[in-house]
Symmetry: C2
Subunit: 569 residues, 2 copies
Amino acid sequence: MTKNKLRVIPLGGASEVGRNMWVFEYEEDIIICDMGVMFPESEMMGVDLVLPDITYLRDKVANIRGVLLTHGHEDHIGAVPWLIGDLGFPTVYGTTLTLGLLSNKLKEHRLTDKVSTKTIAPGDKFQLGCFTIEPFHIAHSIPDSVGFGLTSPAGLALYITDWKLDHTPVDNWPTEIDRLVDFGRRNPIVLVTDCVRVESKGYTPSERVVGDAFDQIFATAPGRVIMATFASNISRVQMAINAAIDYGRKVVPVGRSMENNTSIARELGYLEVPDGVLIRPGDMKNLPDDQIAIVCTGSQGEPMAALSRMANRDHRQISIQRGDTVVISASPIPGNEVSVYKVIDNLYKLGANVIYGSDLPVHVSGHAAQEELKMLLNLVQPQYVIPFHGDYRHLARYKQLAEGMGFNGDNVLIAEGGSIMEFSQNYGKLVSRAPVGHVFVDGVSVGDIGGAVVRDRQMLAKDGILMVVVSVELQTGNLVAGPDIVSRGFVSTRDSTDLIEGAKEAVRASFSESYVVPARAFSDGEETAEGNSPAVSSPAARKIKEVVGRYLYERTRRRPMVIPVVMEV
Amino acid sequence: MTKNKLRVIPLGGASEVGRNMWVFEYEEDIIICDMGVMFPESEMMGVDLVLPDITYLRDKVANIRGVLLTHGHEDHIGAVPWLIGDLGFPTVYGTTLTLGLLSNKLKEHRLTDKVSTKTIAPGDKFQLGCFTIEPFHIAHSIPDSVGFGLTSPAGLALYITDWKLDHTPVDNWPTEIDRLVDFGRRNPIVLVTDCVRVESKGYTPSERVVGDAFDQIFATAPGRVIMATFASNISRVQMAINAAIDYGRKVVPVGRSMENNTSIARELGYLEVPDGVLIRPGDMKNLPDDQIAIVCTGSQGEPMAALSRMANRDHRQISIQRGDTVVISASPIPGNEVSVYKVIDNLYKLGANVIYGSDLPVHVSGHAAQEELKMLLNLVQPQYVIPFHGDYRHLARYKQLAEGMGFNGDNVLIAEGGSIMEFSQNYGKLVSRAPVGHVFVDGVSVGDIGGAVVRDRQMLAKDGILMVVVSVELQTGNLVAGPDIVSRGFVSTRDSTDLIEGAKEAVRASFSESYVVPARAFSDGEETAEGNSPAVSSPAARKIKEVVGRYLYERTRRRPMVIPVVMEV
């Protein structure tokens, strides 16, 4: 730990969307900014969540002065319940709405009494260790979002994530450009900024244009309106409520997170809803269809969320009917396109009309586009920049964008996960790497499964598995029962009796005295993490595996996982 | 088979992109239009190709008068080698380039001598059974594309797939609007048209705008240009060659299908390349970087294609270097976004600059947008329309588009795969359904695997598998060896010894005398197609499965597939 330098480390990986968790460290003081989860990529089969890797902090837990949260999205607060204990329960600082959304999670994990939180607001200024913390308001797709100025003896660092400029935000609270100007005058040493929309030219439109689109839809839809969006996008929900009121519709929040978030936001004053506007699904039957607006989850085609279940005729309370107008008020996150389109197809099959994509401006991003990113650089004039919250191409293009403005490209640090960077006046460098990997949450345990298990699932998904079970006599090694072959995901045994019989014959033949295990050690690369008992790793087992694997490949060109089990009796 | 009616049946499923195969049947005469493959969806794990289902034709093979191909894309000709034999080797009709691309496939399948083909051209008019066939030229993203007028005693049917209007196509041959006008005057009974871009407002831009973008790039790129596109998009390749010549670059086709298609197209006169312009990868070392343009496959992020391998540093001949300009001249097909973005990320990591998406117009679609679709309806004035080559939402929106123009919505037939529709003057109806399913090609055999096997792979991919093997005494049913537990893709046994030990203990306990199999039959819904031997379906086996499944779920909330194997000794 270098003296006099500010250390900045992205534990979630700067180059991955999600899992945001940043360490700002000056000598004996550590501040953590955000603690989010990442949703698994499609190859991470069967995994529920991916957490940041806190290995770097394990020996430094006593130095943690606090956790600062910027806003209430899952990829910024979702990991708090999972990690806060291992981090020694430092105090968590956040705005009212952010802490309100967090408190729900803490309750679910039974941590309410263990975690201390402190409400902050833009304009505050407080000390945590040697750091002076200055939150300021930014516009995003959830209200009450802030960025942080963090001043240590090394200088001023700015942490600005998930931001845009919006001159007409729904809560009437634009990004505080005046604060950015002030910070800019203090010669910040480093700016950490999101860059996920660096591919988009111009400026991101205001949230307000969606409100205009909603007006048009809510006024003219012949029957019910069903609007799907992120439950955390309170501004979007507010505009739906406003349009509903203007056109005489009651609003029905549907979906657990939608109901929760709407309720928390309302309670804390972030959602304005006159009494009597919100109703429950059961109350709908008393109303004509054109007086109903349902606001629900599922805008990403998530299988368990409300809209997907409605599209699958699988929702207990809502059935899609002819004449419904469904609005998909979101853009598919890369990877979700097929799920979203399947939901839309099914909604059409059920007779709904669906408004999505570029039909009408029913969605705008919460992130800055190229011109806003350039403006921030000009306002803040940092010595160094760390772009993040994007994939590698976004970081690389941000660097190009900065260079195009005359910014020194060497001062734009492209940080992979775990990069340890150090800064002070006119000094900025990648010095080493912290150990970071994917930490999976699968089922109820954290870290229960490793990369090898996920790889096995991928192999199983490709060609299936074949189990070959024999009983052999302990003394002689002779076959006394079997082989029995059970396959899953490989081939329809009913249709392929000959193939399976042939494999059995090959096994039997291998037990005859003349068979010699080929000298070449067959290596499937199957060094899995799952321990092998002697039943699967003995010479007899290896022989079976080799024989069956080769037989099947020659006939089918497929490589199912072959698991031999040799019972010695 | 109704007399006096034209039967129209999509065997590939009108509502799926790909697998195009249409049957036009009048009494004893059958014409097949197109015979394409579909690439598997991500849930169809481990499957290589999906073919149309020709069950409907099995008893009618003698009635097949010919196969008409519209153009050389995989989803229109890819199934010919797989199915033409089962269909009795009817003659295949296509334009010069289409048959040229087909001949390559027939050679690979050793069918060249068995399949008879006949070259046709726009303006031809010929008889097949009672059908008069009239091909006419349409613009698409591959040259030499046609639509067909098919006249039977029932009336004129128009089959127009994969088309757009392009007034400045690269081959100077626009869609023959005059032919459409002529057909329109003959009161066609039914129009079959693609509608995949019905979500797009306005008109699809001309292929020519890509040429302008290529000019800009090829002129200014500091080093090599690497342009990735579909190998079948000969027009795109032509424009790359034109720009290369204009700016002093040699052209290197890379990727098996790119090399093949370029060669076939050139041979047949569809690609104009002066001598000396095309070079081989090995010749590049003699040239400065800014005199090189590589044209390669992989624009969809396909793992085995050239660009992905270059991005993974896995291509034998080409290594990406700093200063390369890569152009992704394609739009990701839904489902491919993540693969494409990963390739782009990796290219940036290797120091390339990448031009993609909306940076510059480096790609336009080959399909008609809303205004073109409307224009076709006005020109042709069919009595009935069958929109296809889209997902359900496209078909539904096409119907809305037609209704918006005053077309009678009841006369737009939304046809699921296998729909048997019949037409004559002022008559059009869905009369029944042909049996169609997914026919998988997996490994080397067709139809080898069924839906159940694919479902098993999905289950394995999600939670993995656990095998529990015991030996029991035949007479007493007592446990004599085991239980041995082997898991794959479930949990790291090394880390979860307690869990596995507990499962073993539960199995042992279940063999004690006091254990009673619960009355409720546990049903995992695991009615798989793979036959079960007694070793896995006996009462003892079912007991083990129930006990272990319950134990694991209670502790982990996961449901791995549990396969009990009971060896009786």
